[in-house]
């Protein structure tokens, strides 16, 4: 589903965030990307989400070379990806319902279809009773779950989460991880960037460890050789 071939990302004046990185994430896999801050986790996710463009190498998503897609057509690929931020990035002047409905409005869904889908997504994260609340009135854990509902409401095949449990206590973190596993079970490819290695390990899913923009774990190196 996601294939990086010797991808380098250079931030002018800040050096290389990713150094000739190659990896493959098959469809329907749930993967953790771990590493210290500055290891390149966020950059990896932002490149997949088309929030940034890489400097060298090749990125294929579902067989499409993303570099070859002009900006005016990128919106379509972005609709196939759900993104979850550490700081939620909810729109504070809109209700929970409107926040979750945003991707559907963008995709031009029928107005009768929107409430159905929004309710399904909110039900999934257990916030159906908070749909008319504004984000600021919710707890941090609840806000994160609204962010997740927003990311999955469009039923994207790829779900990316950047430190989704960064601000949450351990119990809530486990709860959120369980939620991701549920989405993964119905066929969504999930990539989660986290610095909490222990939490990632406890789930038993594949871990891609990054250090200074390179792969650290040997099993990933072998997997990449095998798949490339």
């Amino acid at each position: 589903m996601i294939r990086f071939s010797e991808v380098t990302k250079l931030y002018p004046g800040q050096g290389e965030a990713l150094k000739s990185l190659s990896l493959f994430i098959p469809a329907e896999q749930m993967v953790f990307v771990t590493g210290h801050s500055g290891a390149g986790k966020s950059t990896l996710l932002r490149l997949i989400a088309l929030m940034e463009t890489h400097t060298r190498g090749q990125i294929l998503i579902d067989g499409i070379n993303i570099q070859k897609i002009p900006e005016k057509h990128r919106f379509y690929l972005r609709r196939q990806i759900g993104f979850i931020f550490q700081d939620h990035r909810l729109l504070n002047d809109r209700t929970v319902f409107d926040n979750v409905a945003l991707p559907l409005v963008i995709a031009g869904f029928d107005h009768r279809e929107i409430p159905r889908r929004v309710h399904a997504a909110l039900d999934k994260v257990g916030l159906l009773n908070k749909e008319n609340k504004f984000p600021v009135t919710l707890s941090s854990g609840e806000q994160q779950r609204v962010g997740i509902a927003r990311a999955v409401v469009n039923r994207p095949p790829i779900l990316l989460a950047d430190e989704p449990t960064g601000n949450l206590d351990p119990e809530l973190s486990i709860e959120i991880m369980k939620l991701f596993e549920e989405f993964n079970r119905i066929g969504v490819t999930v990539v989660i960037a986290t610095h909490e290695v222990e939490l990632a390990r406890s789930t038993g899913h594949r871990i891609i460890a990054l250090k200074d923009g390179r792969l650290m774990t040997p099993d990933d190196a072998s997997l990449q050789e095998h798949t490339l």
Partner: protein
Amino acid sequence: MKGITKPSRLEDKVRSWWQTHLRCFLTSLGQLLRTPTTTLLTVTVIGIALALPAGLILVVNQLQTLTEGLNTTNSISLYFKKDISDDHVTAIRDKLEKDERVNHIIFISSDQALKEFRELSGQGDLIDLLDENPLPTTLHIVPTAEASPKQLDSLVRSIKSLKGIDQVVFDSGWARRLQSIITLLDRFVLVLSALLIFAVVLIIGTTIRIGIQSRLQEIQISRLFGATKAFIRRPFLYSGSLYGLIGGIIACVLLLTSWSLLSEPLHELVSSWQLSPSASSSPLFRVCLLVIVGGVLLGVISSWIAVAFYQKELETSEFI
């Protein structure tokens, strides 16, 4: 595997089109109403900026219709010598009436002139003391409206060359001067209108730019979730056209109010000059319509420019 699905079908797009636009319109309207003071100030400034050129256009338009009335009063007065015979007068009158530059001729005999003077001046007793009638026989020649100043000049020259003429009076100077003043005024209004329209574009553009900046997060999130350029642009175009529309309506209210204050003295002025009261209100409604439609168009254009500037920046920049 959940693959990447095909883009939505055409009929789906068509069906959701009006929903998208209605939602966008209502959202934009809601945003304007959420900050009523700022919105009111902005639309009032736009309204004044639109009302000024529109009002001036109206005034110039009225002046032009007035001077059209003046042109027809540009008559040539022909005073005969005392000892002229009636036959000679009739001959000249017939000759002039056949001239294509002449619309019609008003004939006033010396007796008639004296009679009128007696009635108007109230100095009948004084006139009785005179031995003879001091007033000449007069022809008032009214040229056709199509006659150019050059043609009129040649007409005056040919009249002057006729026999038995004492004096030819053709005072067109002041009318021409007025005409050139109005032409100058017309140009001035044109320049002023262009400047004020530019000001409206700047006001709306700046307001939209501020709106874009305050909704930066929303734009970035929308873009991340696959919003097209048009999707991001649309609410700002609606905001811009709403500013233009409300500004245009305010301009119309200002125009109608000023008009109702001005129409009465203007009417008096017109009738005091014994001109046809052509100061009708029909151009007023045309100008009002123009102001509203123009306001909306200006709103769309200026917000489009504002968003285009921003989108160029957005495409090259990366997410925060």
